[in-house]
């Protein structure tokens, strides 16, 4: 058997092309190549650039005949997009949870700061700290936490929107590949 045809056969077997179809394609190709050779033509003159890549040629032919699913590209696209959606959604969820934790902690610490500190907490009271100064230190760290929480919340919400948009855009890609 022609080595090119043999290589095609291996690819068809690997792709799961039904034997009768593979036999038919192999037989047609074999006699065509034999006739071309008898005419003094090279395989390249019959097959074009495909003569240098039997597996791709075999896969393309089988796909065009509709005997194997149409291309790995579609499968890859289908797999990649949900992964991206899940990753973005997961990231958004973590960001929102982080934001909520930060904002909740900040709110409760703000409540604590607002209460007058009991005297025994400061014992042995090494140095009196002016109330205004304590309030300033406390406000500055609260502000940082609030900003971080807000940023995380925004990131989380943007992530949620993106994941939703991708999910909506993904729908047409999941349709079966068009013929041809």
């Amino acid at each position: 058997m022609n080595p090119f045809v043999e290589e095609c056969r291996r690819e068809w077997k690997r792709l799961g092309v039904p034997d009768p179809v593979a036999n038919e394609m192999a037989a047609d190709l074999e006699v065509d190549l034999a006739e071309a050779e008898a005419d003094g033509s090279s395989a390249e003159e019959v097959l074009g650039t495909a003569a240098f890549d039997a597996p791709s040629f075999a896969a393309a032919w089988a796909a065009e005949r509709g005997v194997v699913p149409r291309a790995t590209e579609t499968v890859r696209t289908r797999r990649r997009v949900p992964r991206a959606e899940v990753a973005i959604a997961g990231f958004a969820l973590v960001a929102i949870i982080g934001a909520l934790l930060l904002l909740t902690a900040q709110a409760s610490s703000q409540t604590r700061v607002a209460l007058p500190a009991p005297i025994h907490v400061w014992k042995p009271v090494p140095m009196p700290v002016p109330v205004g100064a304590r309030g300033l230190v406390s406000s500055s760290s609260d502000l940082g936490a609030r900003i971080a929480g807000a940023v995380l919340l925004i990131v989380g919400l943007v992530g949620t929107v993106l994941a939703t948009v991708f999910a909506v855009l993904d729908r047409p890609w999941r349709r079966p590949a068009a013929a041809g």
Partner: protein, 117 residues
């Protein structure tokens, strides 16, 4: 690949299905026979890829009918001929091709260019 060859390949690739339908409209043909008919008109498929996947698509789309018959006492070959739908597709495709060619000619025709030898 040179730019000119690339353009030629793109142009022919877009019309190769019509060319196949046209050569089999002259008379049923098997794969290699179509290659020979195309070559006889100066259309080599070397750069354009193989006709076999294209024949597979035409068959799947119902644009061609096939049958097996011996060729000159040789092994049985798969012959292709346009189906009724294939003939309609050929007529529509040729009309599209001519319209596109005329439009391109209108733009490119007046250009005076000399191809360097």
């Amino acid at each position: 690949m040179a730019i000119g060859e690339g353009r030629r390949t793109q142009l022919l690739r877009g019309a190769l299905d019509l060319c196949l339908l046209a050569v089999m409209e002259e008379g049923p043909a098997y794969g290699y026979e179509m290659t020979k008919r195309l070559r006889a008109r100066g259309l080599s498929t070397v750069g354009e890829g193989s006709i076999y996947p294209l024949l597979g698509r035409l068959e799947r789309e119902g644009l061609v009918e096939t049958y097996r018959a011996a060729s000159n006492g040789g092994p049985p070959r798969k012959y292709y001929r346009p189906s009724a739908e294939g003939r309609r597709a050929l007529a529509a495709g040729v009309a599209e091709w001519r319209a596109a060619r005329d439009a391109l000619d209108a733009v490119l025709g007046p250009v005076e260019a000399e191809v360097a030898a």
